[in-house]
């Protein structure tokens, strides 16, 4: 088995390459304090650097630690969960709403063009409107590619809970994509193709 270099310098080199991925993940998980979240992650990762088996796994390893730090922060804040009633989100379909409201009457590819109107910062604002319970699984699954079983382990909740939160999170995300564009006049800003 290849011996891995576990010096401070090698940690700095590995972690430095992952800073953008860690920072942008943190920015999607929290409104404020993304840098603090990354710094705490780096500290915790450095302390457990010896547990990293392969340098090639450094990216996912660091992201898992970041999610652990995020989860611990949530627990410390000890806010009551903001579970959404099923019927509050279940009925909304952005696909149907776009057809019915036709916000881009000159578009031949309405649904595609609607999504393209959102810059990355807009998407972040939409995500941040979701309660953390729903935002975190959505970000981890569909933006960072974690498997649902791993999300369940990282967030320390049953798999069924993750699946239910993903479902409600997706619906809520669709609702907020619609509401955000309405409230901010996004489609009037000339960003639409």
């Amino acid at each position: 088995m290849e011996v891995q270099d576990r010096t401070r310098e090698s940690f700095q080199r590995l972690a430095s390459a992952e800073l953008p991925a860690l920072y942008w993940l943190a920015r999607r998980l929290v409104r404020d304090g993304a840098e603090d979240l990354v710094q705490e992650t780096l500290l915790r990762a450095y302390r457990s650097y010896g547990t990293l088996r392969q340098d090639t796994a450094a990216g996912p390893w660091l992201k898992r630690i970041l999610v652990n730090v995020f989860r611990d922060q949530l627990r410390r804040q000890a806010r009551s969960p903001e579970e959404l009633p099923v019927d509050q989100v279940e009925d909304f379909s952005l696909y149907q709403t776009l057809i019915e409201q036709d916000p881009l009457p000159y578009s031949d590819t309405l649904h595609h063009d609607y999504l393209q109107a959102f810059a990355k910062e807009d998407v972040r604002e939409v995500l941040l409107r979701l309660p953390e319970l729903y935002r975190a699984p959505l970000v981890l699954r569909y933006m960072d590619g974690f498997a649902t079983k791993e999300i369940a382990r990282l967030l320390d909740v049953p798999l069924g809970t993750v699946l239910a939160r993903l479902h409600r999170g997706r619906k809520r995300f669709e609702q907020e994509l619609w509401a955000y564009a309405q409230e901010t006049g996004l489609l009037l800003k000339g960003t639409v193709p």
Binding site: F11, Q12, P20, Y46, L94, Y95, Q96, K120, G145, L163
Partner: protein
């Protein structure tokens, strides 16, 4: 003898679309969803949009760090 699954309503098909795209449904549910999609144009549209939305989310990946953030984090790393 295999029993063909009964039809499911649009609400049920739409509820399962993302799990269907994730290959996270049972073979029975997969068959039910596909059977529904075989005759429901609206749900085919929902499926296409779900695929677009997944691609849209996946495309929101990491970019370059803002220079001031990069400088602070690099300094933090150097001080470890």
């Amino acid at each position: 003898m295999t029993v063909k699954p009964g039809p499911i309503p649009c609400s049920e098909a739409v509820r399962q679309l993302w799990d269907y795209l994730d290959h996270a449904v049972t073979p029975e549910d997969q068959e039910k969803v596909e059977q529904h999609l075989s005759f429901c144009r609206s749900c085919c549209g929902e499926l296409e949009f779900a695929t677009q939305l997944r691609g849209f989310l996946a495309s929101q990946g990491a970019e370059e760090l803002p220079s001031h953030v990069k400088a602070r984090l690099e300094r933090f790393l150097a001080d470890l």
